[in-house]
Each structure stands twice: as structure tokens, then as C-alpha cells.
């Protein structure tokens, strides 16, 4: 395998596929949940962050306009 694909997690280099696979199995052993549930849970975290952030900014701007 090329050295470029062995790069782990510093800055923006690709992760090693074998290590990702190992990590996935470890998570499976630890949590024992279906992979679909993991996708949904992690996906929800990813989607909720910007949604919550945009909502907070919207609330702050509304408050700001009320006091201006």
C-alpha cells in the first residue's frame, strides 16, 4: 500500500482503511448496535450541529433587532 494511504489523523491526510475497519469492529463490540443505528446517530450529530447553530444565531439576531 502506498505511504499516502497509511497516513493517520494529522491535519487532512487520509486515514488508514485497516485501522478504520479495526475501529469499527471495536465500536461494534463495545456498543453492539446495528450499523444503521450508528449511521443515524452519527448523522444526527452532524446535521444537528449546524441546525442548532443557525437557530441560535437567528435568536440572537432577533433579540438584537428587538433592542436596537
Amino acid at each position: 500500500m502506498s505511504a499516502f494511504n497509511r497516513v493517520l489523523a494529522h491535519h487532512t491526510e487520509p486515514v488508514d482503511p485497516k485501522l478504520v475497519d479495526w475501529l469499527r469492529h471495536k465500536i461494534d463490540d463495545l456498543l453492539g448496535v446495528d450499523s444503521v443505528v450508528m449511521v443515524a446517530a452519527l448523522g444526527a450529530v452532524i446535521v444537528l450541529f449546524p441546525v442548532v447553530l443557525l437557530t441560535l444565531v437567528w435568536i440572537q439576531r432577533r433579540r438584537g433587532s428587538r433592542y436596537s
Binding site: M1, V7, T12, L19, L23, V51, L54, G64, S68
Partner: protein
């Protein structure tokens, strides 16, 4: 406490930090996530790993070279435009990856388009932008941004890996591309502004301006140091630019080499890849805490002292790989190295901003980052050659330790109190300013 700030909640700059945290999170996830798909591409394209790796190799080079370019564009057009254009292009590029039908197409879509666009979303424009929003808490803000990359590894990579179990790689890339366009792009457009002045605010949420050294009035952030410049070329006539770049080059050398060769070293010591991965995971977790701690402390003391310490601590981690037995060295490196792993990023960018000002920071940060990438690329090859020649990494690790010792001394020798605007004399606050609430400030950016 200022009444206006009480009414309108936290300083708006922290929302900008959160928005950039998310863009860093998603972009680094896509970049690191490449490795998750290698086996799928091998099967679908009917090629070897090496053929697929060409796209990653091209991507690494393109990303490194793009940094000064986007840095210069940041200085010329404002970071907001660069970030938005980058997210748009990267979203499209990510969708195009889903349409790849050959390694050549993958090299074009990922290696060129995605990797080039990710340069526009890197620490270069984001760091330059945050330097305008924060002065007193610059290190803290930068460290939160940096942690976005660490958190991405903990959430995005498992997400991609599990997603790939339930869908084709095309569907995964298409979904990520759509997420970038539907979530990432609006976050940048709605929240991010190139500077607090765009919203009639002052850096750090200050409500008072100060007299500058020239008899005028200014926000604390614009108080000029002796090396504050409007021409990036001038920075190379002073020591701090060379000191920061040289030290950051060593950062690239030592992190890229370990990233690539850590597992191979572990194997040579009889340690399983799984244990090595666990140690590296521990390193990542410690590093996230380390970055936040170092960033926060750096706002209260000279940054160069912390930067020097970070390099010296990492040097100690390299020494541990040589002198300790394999199994012990693995965990010693994870703990000691973890404290220093990404901590150089917020410190270096913050210090560059403190010394040279924010006017040309994009270009300067881009050049410093390029030194990091070039050092990393060269080190990966050299470390590999050393192992092939001697059957051991000891000589390479010793070289890394010596480089880190030199980087530590170099960083400590930066005359921060003399050159940094943080230590430039300013008179007391006199003028009330920037109490305009967020909404009243308008939503226009650049």
C-alpha cells in the same frame, strides 16, 4: 459589563468560531475519509491500491500548493468569500467523486477539485479570519477551530465507515456533497463575516477603543507592532517569519512521518496494528484537550514559550521511541506526543498574526502552512528510506528529536515582547464604540 452585550448574548465572534469549527469538521472528515473507500474503489475499478493512492498523493500536493494561493486571495477578497467559494467548489467536487468511474476520474475529482477546494477551507483563511475577530482570546479561538479537525476524526470517519456498510460508495459521497451544499454553505453564508467591523463590532466583543501609537484611536486589535506589515514580502526580512516557518517545517516533518510510519514502526516492534491504532486514538484524544488548554493559556502569556515547549515535549516523545522498549514506548509516545500533536497550529497562526498583523496574514499563514506540508512530504520518504536501509526507525527518530530540539530553541528565541502587537504600548480606553446589536449591524458581509 456593557448593557448591549447582555441584551444580545455572547460575542458574535464565537458563532463565527462555531461555524468555522463545523466547516473544518466536515472538510477534514472528507479529506481523512478517503482511506475508508480505498477497498471499494479497488473492487469497482479493478485496480491496485497504488493506482487509487495516486489520487491521494495528488491531493496532498495540490492541497499544499493551494494554501499560499488561497491565503493571498483571503487578503485580497476577504476570508468569507474564499471560504464560501471553497465550500461550494468542494461540495460540487465531492458530488463529482461519486460520479467517478475510473482511477483517472478519481484523481481529477478528488486529487484536483476536492483537494484544491479544501485549501480554501483550511486553517489558512479560517485562521486569518479568526485573527481579525479575536485579539486577546486569539489563541483560544484558534484552538477551538483546530479541535474541529480532531472531533471530525472521532465522528465523521466512523460515520463514513458505517454508512459504507449500508450504501454504495457513490451514495456516501453524494450524500456528503449534498450535506456540504445544504448545511455547510448556509452556515458560512449566514454566520461568517470576514471581520467584526463588517458588523460594526470590535474584536473580542470589546466596547472600547484605544489610542494607538500614532496618536489616533483604534481597537486593541489594530494597535500595530514594529513588524506589522501591509506587504507580505517584508515579513521575510525579519527573523520571526523565518523562525515560525522553520519550526513549522519541523512540525510537518515530525507529524507526517509519525502519521505514516507509526503502524509500521509498531509492527517492527511486534505490536499489533490494532494496539497501535488504540494508542493513536489515545494520542488524538489527549491532543484535543492539549490544544484547548494550550490555546487558552497562550492568551495569558507569551505564545513563543508555549510553542517552544510544545516542540520540546514532542522531541521528548521521539526520544521515548528510541530509548524505551516497544510496548512502553508506544504508550509513552501516545501520552507525551498527544500533548503536543496539534498544539502548534493555533500557536503558530496566532503568533504570526500578533507579529505581522492581520492585513497580509492569509498569505503569510499560507506560506507557513506550505512549509509544513513540504516538510511532511519529504519526511515521509526519508523515514521510509531509513527503515529500508537500516531495518529500524531509530536513526530517523533521532533525527526527528534533534530537529524538534532545534525547533524548540528557535521558537523560544522569537523576541515576542519586542515584535508582538500584544506587547505594543497602548493608552487607556477612552471612546465608546461597537455597541450596535448584531441584527442592527446588518447582514452584509464583505
Amino acid at each position: 459589563m456593557n448593557e448591549g452585550r447582555q441584551k444580545t448574548g455572547p460575542f458574535y465572534g464565537w458563532y463565527v468560531v462555531a461555524a468555522l469549527f463545523f466547516s473544518t469538521f466536515i472538510v477534514i472528515g472528507v479529506r481523512q475519509g478517503f482511506g475508508v473507500f480505498v477497498e471499494s474503489w479497488e473492487k469497482d475499478f479493478g485496480v491496485t491500491t497504488t493506482a487509487v493512492s495516486v489520487a491521494a498523493a495528488i491531493g496532498w500536493i495540490v492541497n499544499g500548493v493551494s494554501q499560499p494561493l488561497f491565503g493571498a486571495l483571503t487578503d485580497r477578497l476577504g476570508a468569507r468569500r474564499v471560504l464560501i467559494a471553497g465550500m461550494l467548489l468542494m461540495g460540487i467536487g465531492t458530488i463529482l467523486v461519486a460520479a467517478s468511474t475510473s482511477p483517472l476520474m478519481l484523481a481529477v475529482t478528488y486529487g484536483f477539485v476536492v483537494s484544491f477546494a479544501s485549501g480554501a477551507l483550511s486553517f489558512t483563511p479560517a485562521g486569518a479570519l479568526l485573527s481579525r475577530w479575536f485579539v486577546r482570546r486569539r489563541g483560544s479561538a484558534m484552538s477551538v477551530l483546530t479541535v474541529g479537525g480532531s472531533v471530525s476524526g472521532m465522528i465523521m470517519i466512523p460515520f463514513l465507515a458505517y454508512f459504507l456498510l449500508n450504501a454504495s460508495w457513490q451514495t456516501v459521497w453524494l450524500t456528503i456533497g449534498v450535506m456540504m451544499l445544504v448545511l455547510g454553505l448556509p452556515v458560512l453564508i449566514v454566520i461568517v463575516r470576514s471581520s467584526p467591523e463588517d458588523m460594526n463590532l470590535l474584536p473580542d466583543g470589546d466596547t472600547e477603543s484605544f489610542e494607538d501609537g500614532a496618536g489616533g484611536r483604534t481597537a486593541r486589535s489594530t494597535a500595530a507592532g514594529p513588524l506589522t506589515t501591509n506587504r507580505w514580502q517584508q515579513s521575510f526580512r525579519s527573523a520571526p517569519m523565518w523562525q515560525l516557518s522553520a519550526a513549522y517545517w519541523v512540525c510537518g516533518v515530525t507529524t507526517a512521518s509519525i502519521s505514516v510510519h507509526f503502524v509500521r514502526w509498531a509492527s517492527s516492534e511486534g505490536i499489533s496494528p490494532g494496539t497501535a491504532a488504540l494508542a493513536f486514538g489515545l494520542l488524538s484524544g489527549i491532543n484535543a484537550m492539549g490544544v484547548l488548554t494550550v490555546g487558552s493559556i497562550s492568551d495569558r502569556m507569551q505564545r513563543k514559550n508555549l510553542l517552544g515547549m510544545v516542540y520540546l515535549v514532542r522531541g521528548l516523545a521521539f526520544v521515548s521511541l528510541i530509548v524505551l522498549p516497544g510496548g512502553v514506548a508506544l504508550w509513552a509516545f501516545a501520552i507525551i506526543g498527544g500533548m503536543s500533536w496539534l498544539a502548534t497550529v493555533p500557536l503558530t497562526t496566532s503568533l504570526a498574526a500578533d507579529v505581522y498583523g492581520v492585513k497580509k496574514l492569509g498569505t503569510l499563514a499560507g506560506l507557513i502552512n506550505m512549509a509544513h506540508q513540504l516538510g511532511g512530504g519529504a519526511a515521509v520518504i526519508v523515514f521510509g528510506r531509513v527503515f529500508d536501509r537500516f531495518g529500524s526507525y531509530d536513526l530517523a527518530f533521532a533525527g526527528g528529536a534533534v530537529f524538534l530540539l532545534m525547533a524548540g530553541i528557535t521558537a523560544l528565541s522569537i523576541r515576542e515582547k519586542r515584535y508582538s502587537a500584544r506587547f505594543a504600548p497602548v493608552s487607556g480606553p477612552t471612546v465608546q464604540a461597537a455597541t450596535v446589536p448584531v441584527a442592527a449591524a446588518g447582514a452584509d458581509g464583505d
